[in-house]
């Protein structure tokens, strides 16, 4: 099992290295000169050259790659072209904000999915089940940005309950988290409901009942344990949606997260920033997925043996 894990780790680190290289190359192959983007169109070549020298984009590609890689080895991802700040400190400002938003959305989605999925599994076609299906259908068909706009219109501009944009404390998390959660919820709900129906139909659930295990324990410990594996899997898949949804929500709600930073960085061809954001995001993905693999083993003893 240890070996299995180490092998996965090595695979993932290799993939990460590949991503690092790919993002370096892709950024530079994509049309767009950071100096020209920074300067107005009428800027003279002198000015552009000055910017290029400042950015270090005046040297040949191999030299840039070498300095980029040697930087990484030293843990130095460079300085943002636009913010003239080490990219790591920029990411350090934004990442916790995004993580907070994404986690709130995930918790909200999983929480609601659990509530409604369990209720729906216990009483298929009951009113909670129907409510869940309705919310899921809505979340599936309505795009995040539109949901975001509607939420702002109703709860911010209309009722004045929450701020429309920006981040000024936990109340700023509510609307964007709902908008993101709605995108993730349908899959979560479906998975939890199916897994719970499956779980509750297991004979060992009947055994547990026959042995007088209280109903809440049966639902939330025994059956849910059965749903844990698919749930963890779907949360792993959610991460992709979460990232996409978070970027959209950050734009719609002007939430100061890494998504907006990334969009601006790409638009400005802020190579060091784009590279660092990609690496950090990819690393998070890799490690979360490793964590999920680990969780699998914890959750299902049968996998431990097979591995």
């Amino acid at each position: 099992m240890r070996r299995f894990f180490l092998r996965r780790l090595a695979q993932n680190l290799l993939m990460l290295a590949f991503i690092v290289l790919a993002v370096f190359v892709i950024m530079r192959l994509t049309a767009g000169d950071p100096a020209r983007i920074k300067a107005p169109i009428f800027a003279s070549e002198d000015v552009l050259d000055r910017y290029r020298a400042e950015f270090g984009t005046d040297t040949p590609l191999p030299a840039q790659l070498v300095s980029f890689l040697s930087g990484i080895v030293r843990g130095d991802f460079g300085e943002s072209f636009r913010y003239q700040e080490p990219v790591f400190s920029l990411i350090a400002q934004r990442l916790p904000q995004t993580a907070m938003l994404a986690l709130s959305a995930l918790l909200l989605a999983v929480g609601v999915a659990l509530l409604l999925g369990v209720a729906g599994a216990r009483r298929p076609d009951g009113w909670l089940d129907r409510l869940g299906q309705a919310i899921a259908a809505f979340g599936q068909s309505a795009p995040t940005f539109w949901i975001g706009l509607m939420l702002v219109l109703v709860f911010s501009l209309g009722l004045g309950w929450f701020p429309a944009v920006g981040f000024n404390g936990p109340q700023s998390l509510v609307l964007p988290a709902i908008a993101i959660a709605l995108a993730v919820l349908p899959a979560d709900l479906r998975v939890i409901r199916t897994a719970m129906i499956d779980g509750l139909a297991q004979e060992y659930i009947r055994t547990a009942r026959a042995f007088g295990i209280p109903e809440w324990r049966i639902t939330y410990v025994y059956a849910l344990r059965n749903a844990a594996l698919p749930l963890v899997t779907v949360v792993g898949i959610d991460l992709g949606y979460l990232l996409g949804g978070t970027i959209v929500a950050e734009v719609v709600f002007n939430y100061p997260g890494i998504g907006q930073l990334a969009i601006d960085a790409v638009n400005a061809r802020d190579y060091p920033l784009v590279q660092a954001i990609t690496i950090v995001t990819a690393a998070i993905f890799v490690f979360v997925n490793l964590g999920i693999d680990l969780l699998y083993m914890v959750l299902d003893p049968r996998i431990r043996i097979e591995a």
């Binding site: 009483r123 297991q202 004979e203 060992y204 009947r206 055994t207 547990a208 009942r209 026959a210 042995f211 007088g212 295990i213 209280p214 109903e215 324990r217 025994y222 344990r225 059965n226 959750l299 299902d300 003893p301 049968r302």
Partner: protein, 355 residues
């Protein structure tokens, strides 16, 4: 010793054809369990009554689908949605389980009233160790430390003949062999010294060689511990080895009841007779083609107005189609629901209609 007391018994006093001394542990009266299906209501258990006396083993036999398991689950109050007990009385030690609050019923299950299910492979939770499951079950009823619960579990495992019980407790069910698993399941049932154990086909899923061991174990345990047992099985051989009395079910109805030996030797109901004829004995060689009962169980929509067995019965008369025979005493200690029971002295195709 078994004095017929047919029809006797005052209010609150269960009625049985051959009541043993004392009170019955379990007394089921007119149990009717219904499923609401898309096609309509389906009566899986139809007006079934029986008693289980202390220390007694009642066998329930019948074709697949005849309602044996549903009857057992009805007693436990575990009939799954969309089913439910529609009518009847289930008295356990005099207390009507149907009137019990859910919490009181829950507290009863697993402590005074325990179950052994058919397939230990699926009946045990693959995600928890044997020990975790057993201690959970103990602690659903008693405030006990993990150590106390574990000690109890170890003791019961030893009781059912599991070697190295401490080691088994740390194992997952799927790490054990089939026979061992069923021993574990029996040990679970014994955890809190129940008064009644319902074993629903506890041997069906096992290898033939192991079946006999498990049967022996149950018989032995019953003798030593003195609990009552409801033993559900297709296998008439096994039932005759374990049970004192037997209840024969067909299409949700109780069609015959009586001491196991007499009932199988001289069935009163044509269905029982067909069952016996098609059954391999414990000693018989498996694989030999068995005579089968012609026809099949009636579905929910084609239940006849009269006797449920009429469509398949070689002795059926017009009245059988028209009128449903009640389960009634035919011989001392023996009951059958048949207009024309197979009386030992009158093996004719004609009989006297009663009622």
């Amino acid at each position: 010793m078994r004095a017929p007391r047919s029809g006797a018994g005052g209010p609150g006093r269960p009625v049985d054809v051959d009541a043993l001394p004392g009170e019955p542990v379990l007394s089921v009266r007119n149990l009717t369990t219904v499923f609401a299906t898309r096609a309509g209501e389906f009566t899986a258990v139809d007006d079934v009554s029986f008693d289980v006396w202390p220390g007694e083993c009642l066998g329930i036999v019948g074709e697949s689908g005849s309602g044996k398991s549903v009857a057992a689950l009805s007693i436990l109050g575990l009939v799954d949605y969309p089913g439910g007990v529609a009518a009847g009385e289930i008295r356990f030690r005099g207390e009507d389980l149907r009137r019990l609050r859910p919490e009181a019923l829950r507290a009863l299950r697993g402590s005074r009233l325990a179950v052994v299910f058919q397939d230990p492979q699926t009946a045990l939770n693959p995600l928890f160790t044997v020990g975790r499951q057993m201690t959970d079950f103990v602690r659903a009823h008693r405030r006990a430390s993990t150590r106390e619960a574990t000690r109890l579990a170890t003791e019961k495992l030893r009781l059912v003949g599991v070697s190295a019980p401490e080691q088994r407790l740390r194992a997952y069910p799927w790490e054990l062999s089939g026979g061992l698993r069923q021993r574990v399941a029996i040990a679970m049932a014994l955890l809190l010294d129940p008064e009644l154990i319902i074993a629903d086909e506890p041997t069906t899923a096992l290898d033939v060689s192991i079946q006999a061991q498990i049967v022996e174990l149950l018989v032995d345990l019953k003798q030593r511990l003195g609990f009552s047992l409801i033993f559900i099985s297709h296998d008439l051989g096994v039932v005759s080895a374990v049970a004192d009395r037997v209840l024969v079910m067909y299409a949700g109805r109780a069609v015959e009841r009586g001491p196991v030996g007499e009932t199988f030797a001289h069935p009163l109901h044509p269905y029982t007779a067909a069952l016996v004829a098609s059954a391999p004995t414990l000693e018989s060689v498996r694989g030999r083609p068995l005579p089968t009962i012609p026809g099949s169980l009636p579905g929910p929509s084609d239940r006849p107005a009269g006797c449920v067995f009429a469509p398949r019965c070689p002795r059926a008369q017009p009245i059988c189609w028209a009128e449903q025979p009640p389960l009634a005493p035919v011989l001392p200690g023996r009951e059958a629901a048949c207009h024309f029971p197979l009386l030992p002295d009158a093996p004719a195709t004609t009989g006297t209609a009663r009622g």
